[in-house]
Symmetry: C2
Subunit: 224 residues, 2 copies
Amino acid sequence: MATLSKRTATASPDTPEAVAPDSRQMILETAARLFRRDGYAATTLRAIAADCDMKAGSIYYHFASKDVIVAEVLDIGVRRVFDAVKQAVDALPPGTGLADTLRCAIETHLRALLLAHDFTSANIRILGQVPLPVREAHRALRRRYERYWVTLLEGLRQRGEIRAGSDLNRTVFFLFGAMNWATEWYDERKSPLAVVASELADLVAHGLHSHDNTTGQPKPTGLT
Amino acid sequence: MATLSKRTATASPDTPEAVAPDSRQMILETAARLFRRDGYAATTLRAIAADCDMKAGSIYYHFASKDVIVAEVLDIGVRRVFDAVKQAVDALPPGTGLADTLRCAIETHLRALLLAHDFTSANIRILGQVPLPVREAHRALRRRYERYWVTLLEGLRQRGEIRAGSDLNRTVFFLFGAMNWATEWYDERKSPLAVVASELADLVAHGLHSHDNTTGQPKPTGLT
DNA sequence: GTCTATATGCCGATAGAC
DNA sequence: GTCTATCGGCATATAGAC
C-alpha cells in the first residue's frame, strides 16, 4: 500500500511500514478520518491542515481542490475493501459452500468497513454528500466491486448452491445495504464482529423461516 | 404553489386536502425536497425561501433556526412511514404467515421511502449529516419504529414461524439497511416496487440456499 | 514545500420598515 | 407576515515571500 514515492535517494529502509508518511499521504489519511467523523461539507481544509500540522494554503501544493481530495479518498476506500475481500475469498478451499463463502466475504467487508480503515467507512458515510461530478467519477470503481459479488454468487448458483428465481443483482444490493448500514449501529463493545457477520450470512443463506426438514437446521442436537 | 396566503378570514372550505398550504407547511415540504436532493449542508435557507417565493429572512418568522426545520423534517419522515407500515400490517388477516407479513411491511416501507414522500427519503439521506444534537433528539422516535419491527418479528417467532438462534434486533438492523440502501440504486423505470419488495421478503424468509425438500420451493411447476 | 496574507463569496441570523 | 439591508463569520482558493 501507500505511495512512498520520493525517498528514492537516501531511502533509509528502517521501519518499512508506517514510516515517514509524506505530506500527501498524511493529508489523505487525515481527510478520510475527518470526513468519516464530520461528513463532507463540515470538514474544512483548515481542519485537515491543522491535523497535519500545516496551514490550509499548503494543501494546494499537493492537491488542486477539495474535490480532488475527496475523490481520491472515495476510490481508496473501495479499493481497500475490494482487495481484502478478493484475497480472503481466493484463500478459501475449492468447493466451499454458500454459507461459508458468504460468512468469509461478509466478515472481511465488515472488518474493513467498521474496524480497519477510515477510508472505507468514510466512503459509505460521505458518498451521498459529495458533489455530483465527484460521485459519478467514482461510480465505475464502485460498480466493479458490486459486480465482483454478483459473479461470486453466480458461481455458487452454477454449483447448485443457490435456488433459482432470485435476481442476484438485487440480492447484492440488499446485502450491501445490510452491511453498510452497520456503520449506523454497530458497537464493537456489544458484540464481536464475527458474530454479526455470521448472523448475516445465516440470514442470507437460510432465511428466518423455521424449516420442516432437518437438513438446514443449525442445531442438530436432537431436542424436540 | 405560490403565495395563496391571506385566506384567513373567509376560510373557503373547498378542496379539503392539498388546499392552501400555509407558509410553514410549504417551507417544511420544500426543505424536505431540497434536503433529499442536495443534502443537509448544501441546502441553504435562501434556496428554500426562493422555492417558496419568499426571501430568506422571512423563514425566521416561522422557524427559529435551520436546525429546527431539519429536526421537524426528520421526525415527519419517520412518523409517516411508521404510520403507513402499522396501518398496512394491522389490516392483514389474523394468522398471516412470515413471508406475507414481511412482504406487506417491506413493500409499504419501500413505497413510503422511494415513491411517496420527500420527508422519508430525506430522512435517510441526511440522517448522517445533521448536527449531533438534532440527531440525538430524533433518536427516540426512530428507535420506537425499529422496536415496532422487532415486536412484529417476535410475534411471528412465538407462532413458530421463525427458527431459533437469530438475534431479531440485529435482523431488523439488517433489514433496515437492505431497505434504506435502496435510495441509492432503485430505479422506478426498471422494476416495479412490488417485485423488489417481494424479492427481499423471500430472501429474508427463505434465504438463497437451494432446499432439499419441496416445501419451500417457489416454483412447484415440476420441471427438473 | 510551507508560510502569510488576502481575494471573493456565500452562509445563518438579526433589525426594523412596511 | 414578508420585505430590504446588513452584520459577522467562515469557506475555498490564490499570490507571492521565504
